[in-house]
């Protein structure tokens, strides 16, 4: 799927949770939202932006959530 679309969708989720005062919880919430509502192929593609050109386009909160997802996947 178009990686820019996925990045945009993920950042939109990030925008909602950015307003939460507890950042650590917000990272968890973004990761959980992605895990609970995104089809695996979309998540895999989003994860693949890490380390590539797409990574810089992710909001920091979302980036941390995606990293958390990757860690959970490899655990």
């Amino acid at each position: 799927m178009n990686p820019d679309t996925l990045i945009r969708m993920a950042n939109q989720i990030g925008t909602f949770f950015e307003a939460m005062p507890d950042r650590e919880q917000a990272v968890k919430d973004v990761a959980s939202h992605l895990r609970r509502t995104w089809d695996p192929r979309m998540r895999t593609q989003l994860l693949s932006t890490l380390g590539g050109a797409g990574e810089a386009k992710l909001k920091p909160l979302v980036r941390d959530a995606v990293i958390a997802l990757r860690q959970a996947d490899s655990a």
Partner: protein
């Protein structure tokens, strides 16, 4: 005219718990001061006991004593004009009208005596002396109250002709019939001036289109300012026709075909109000749809769609033979059912073999029954072996599901429709009930006429802002896309002015989440003043509306797609729930958070597990225990990962990873945003199976067409916006030989997954077995109860009218911070206007059904509403054809110039495919659910040269 076989009790029943027992105290239902007071009396020697306030006419009817009557009917308040219902009361002088006399304790009433008989005969004689005596050829013959009453009172002779007319003629006989309305005719020559129609239009419908003009013998019913019905403000709800005791106001189908010989109770298949109807039949032909008096969603009322626009079911455009083709450019080929199903199955299997099992999926219809929706998601999860199933709720109310689940714990509205009768303040936001949910609008308007205050939050001046006897206390005319700003600003006022219901919050809500939310909304950045520039709503208005809402005894919020279809749709739903919790407006009658659902079964399709991440009953696919329960029952393994949503399916199609779609009763090519994108995606698929009544827009890209069945052709249930499960009953055999549930079953079998249900009731049994909120639902119980509101289980065997009564479904209510974020869809020099969309009363969504009825007489084309200022700037005159261009595409529409819309905003409906409203809408969507942002598109509008 009453529906066949229904008893008319003459005056409305007294609602339960509406009698105050404390002198001068307010009656709050459910409190000790508000109890039903029963009075005991005697009628014709029978001991009768009724709630205080019941009329003698009704008390008698409930005891089986039918007092003659003409101007009374139980859907309307008593009027007391015909003097036919006279009775004698021991110890009282005279002959009071039983319809206007309340039953009192100890009364001894006589309904029959020689004197009463004489009085009644005299009354009837006067009526009949001015009535044409063409009973044998009259359309009301067999179902005429005047005729029946003449018989009941024993009228045997008529001694005089009235006025200048002679006996057997009415003095208005030469007044021409009004045939202007496509569905009913008005024949003044048969009118007895009982006023029932006028009162029905006022009390039931709330349109006030009819009056009695003239005096005495010259009195007559007039529509509008002495106009035809069609030219008046009449909205064709049919209430007056229903109320008319004679053939004066009569359905044209009855005039054409005659009276019905049997009737079947069923549920309207249009909007989320879910009105109950009696389908009146001659054999397998519908002759009339009459709103069902005992239907709890509508209590005997209806709108022009359900009441009259059912002719599409037998429209010649119906496709009744399955068809297939190898490529979308090929002509269709009619084939037997088995061949079509085998072809579809083999294509799905071929795609899965080549591209993996996740390369196919389905779209479930929010127009089909619960049982059908359940079967499609079951087919996807069993025969397809994935979770790629979604419903068109994706594009309407998915944010409701998300937002309410997160805050209150259940993805559904909190009330019954009747609850509005207890509301003191009603907030309507992003909804246009008089067009979209007309029967609910009538109930709401009645409550406002009784004194409730109304706040409308909408970019456009919808009818509710100001209509006969209705004036909103506040209309917050916000800019499209700024709901969250306005809702957060209201919360700011409530918090900073000390208007929080602290006791409720402390007892019922999570303390930490509330504290965080309170800190957030109290920030100066969330004040009405700070957000005024963004929302365009004067701060003082927001403050006043917030005070009104927070200060009410009972305040209820009703909202629609103007809330959900935004990039911040879910945030706005959460903001609404926050407001209700902060002010303690949840958990009793008269309050609550009430999504007005668009389609008849959008609630049901969501309940039935049509989302790619949830099994029936909103249980996540990752929940092992739930999955195991279904796996045991279904005998397959269920994937624990969510599948694709509709927009994801389309994206994945262009990506080459999603190539087969089973699309039941949906038309994404017309209804989904950014048509170019949808069409490209559908064209990229290798097998699209469309199951529908008509060859819709999506069928242009289909390889298999499976004929669908209308709601008149099948059994099942629909669940309306109040969580009310109502029966749909087949009245005619499926035109194509199979009901939709049978087709899905056959497709599953063709795919090699065995499904065998003898009847939809068996499917419901399975749903109940596997879904805790439906555990107590069965067809037998529905038969007894009429309808049931889920949750219906051991804890609530008769269902749950009001949710979250003592605690929230999730335990403690959870406040969530709702930061306003402007949409990406911004106005620029190139696209300086914001387009928003909506519906009209007479057409329904993509119009596939209503366009195939005479409803096109009311609204035959989509129009673009534009403010005079914007029109003038562009040299646009009323009726000009204009071009509309957005970042996604362009189309043309006729313009109508109106101040309903604000400068900078244009508005259109999307009922006609040729308008291409969705050619211009974009791919923007809600952050949480991908619900498209239909309500905000930046556009330019220009006059077409030569227009």
């Amino acid at each position: 005219m009453n529906a066949r076989g229904e008893i008319d009790y003459g005056t409305p029943g007294v609602p339960k718990g509406t009698q105050s027992v404390g002198a001068g105290s307010l009656c709050v239902p459910g409190t000790p001061l508000c109890r039903q007071v029963t009075v005991k009396l005697e009628i014709d020697g029978l001991a009768v006991s009724v709630p205080a306030g019941t009329s003698l006419l009704r008390a008698a009817a409930e005891a089986g004593v039918m007092v003659p009557k003409l101007c009374a009917t139980d859907s309307l308040k008593a009027f007391g004009s015909c003097r036919l219902c006279l009775v004698e009361i021991e110890g009282r002088k005279g002959y009071p009208a039983s319809c206007t006399t309340p039953a009192e304790a100890g009364m001894k009433v006589r309904t029959q005596s020689p004197k009463l008989a004489e009085l009644r005969r005299n009354v009837m004689e006067l009526y009949i002396s001015d009535h044409p005596l063409d009973c044998l050829t009259c359309s009301a013959n067999g179902n005429c109250e005047l005729q029946t009453m003449a018989g009941v009172v024993g009228l045997r002779e008529v001694r005089y002709g009235a006025g200048e007319a002679s006996l057997g003629e009415n003095h208005f006989t030469d007044v021409v019939r009004d045939e202007s309305n496509p569905y009913f005719s008005f024949d003044p020559g048969k009118c007895i001036v009982c006023n029932r129609c006028v009162r029905a239009c006022e009390e039931q419908q709330g349109t006030f289109a009819l009056t009695i003009s003239g005096r005495g013998f010259d009195s007559r019913v007039t529509a509008g300012q002495d106009e035809s019905f069609m030219d008046s403000e009449c909205v064709s709800c049919g209430a007056c026709v229903n109320a008319c005791p004679t053939a004066t106001l009569m359905e044209k189908t009855i005039i054409d075909k005659g009276q019905a010989e049997h009737s079947v109770t069923t549920t309207c298949a249009y909007c989320g109000v879910g009105c109950g109807f009696r389908a009146e039949m001659q054999g397998t032909e519908v002759v009339r749809m009459v709103p069902w008096k005992d239907g709890r969603a509508n209590e005997g009322h209806a709108c022009v769609k359900g009441r009259f626009a059912w002719g599409y079911a037998t429209h010649p455009d119906r496709i009744t033979k399955p068809m297939i083709r190898a490529k979308i450019g090929d002509p269709w080929r009619e084939v037997p059912w088995d061949d079509a199903l085998a072809y579809a199955a083999s294509e799905f299997r071929r795609i899965q073999a080549r591209h993996g099992r996740n390369a196919v999926g389905a779209i479930v219809s929010s127009r089909c029954t619960n049982e059908e929706d359940y079967l499609v998601q079951k087919l996807v999860r069993t025969a397809f072996g994935n979770n790629n199933v979604d419903t068109c709720a994706r594009v309407c109310h998915s944010p409701t599901g998300y937002g309410l689940k997160q805050t209150l714990g259940e993805s559904a509205g909190t009330q019954t429709f009747k609850s509005v009768e207890q509301a003191d303040v009603i907030v309507v936001i992003g909804a246009n009930p008089s067009d979209g949910h007309p029967v609910f609008a009538s109930r709401l308007k009645r409550r406002v006429r009784e004194g409730a205050q109304l706040v409308v939050i909408d970019p456009r001046e919808i009818d509710l802002v100001s209509s006969p006897h209705i004036k909103a206390a506040h209309h917050l005319k916000l800019k499209p896309g700024t709901n969250v700003a306005v809702l957060s600003a209201m919360a700011h006022v409530i918090v900073t002015e000390g208007r929080v219901d602290s006791a409720f919050v402390a007892e019922r809500c999570e303390a930490r989440a509330f504290a965080e939310w309170r800190e957030f909304v109290a920030r100066p950045a969330n004040s009405p003043e700070a957000l005024e520039a963004a929302s365009g709503v004067p701060a003082a208005d927001v403050r006043a509306a917030a005070r009104l809402y927070a200060g009410a005894g009972n305040a209820a919020i009703y909202y629609g797609l103007g809330v959900t279809e935004h990039s911040q749709g879910s945030t706005a739903v959460i903001a609404i729930a926050n407001l209700a919790m902060a002010t303690g407006n949840v958990g009793r009658e008269g309050v609550g958070v009430n999504p007005l659902r668009g389609q008849n079964n959008v609630q049901g399709s969501c309940d039935m597990g049509s989302f790619p991440h949830e099994l029936p009953g909103y249980r996540h696919v990752s929940d092992t225990l739930t999955r195991e329960m279904f796996e045991r029952d279904w005998g397959v393994e269920i994937q624990p990962e969510p599948g694709l949503r509709i927009p994801n399916m389309l994206d994945a199609a262009l990506d080459g990873s999603f190539l087969g779609l089973y699309c039941q009763g949906e038309d994404p090519a017309q209804s989904d945003p950014n048509t170019h994108h949808v069409v490209a995606a559908l064209s990229a698929m290798e097998c699209v199976v469309v199951q529908d009544l008509f060859l819709n827009e999506t069928a242009k890209y289909a390889h298999v067409f499976l004929p669908g069945a209308s709601f008149l052709e099948k059994d099942g249930t629909f669940t309306n916006a109040e969580r009310r499960i109502s029966r749909v009953r087949g009245v005619m055999p499926p035109l194509a030989g199979m009901a939709d549930w049978e087709v899905t079953m056959a497709l599953a079998n063709a795919l090699g997954y065995a499904m065998h249900y003898e009847h939809p009731s068996r499917i419901m049994d399975e749903i109940a077995r596997l879904t805790p909120t439906f555990a107590g639902v069965s067809y037998d119980k529905l038969e007894r109860a009429g309808s049931l509101q889920w949750p219906c289980n051991e804890a609530a065997p008769e269902g749950t009218p009001t949710m979250h009564v003592d605690e929230f479904v999730r335990g403690k209510g959870r406040f969530l911070i709702t930061q306003y974020v402007p949409t990406d869809e911004k106005v620029t020099r190139r696209f300086p206007l914001l387009l928003t969309t909506g519906r009209v009363l007479s057409q329904y969504n993509v119009g596939a059904q209503t366009r195939r009825t005479a409803n096109t007489d009311f609204y035959g084309a989509d129009l673009l509403e534009i403010h005079p200022h914007d029109a003038e700037e562009r040299g646009i005159r009323d009726g000009d054809r204009v071009g509309i261009e957005s970042r996604a595409g362009s189309t043309t529409l006729p313009a109508t110039i109106t101040e309903r819309v604000q400068p900078g905003v244009v508005y259109t409906t999307f009922h006609f495919p040729e308008s291409g409203a969705n050619v211009i809408t974009t791919d923007n969507s809600d952050w949480a659910t991908n619900c498209p942002e239909y309500k905000v598109t930046a556009v330019q509008v220009s006059r077409l040269s030569g227009a």
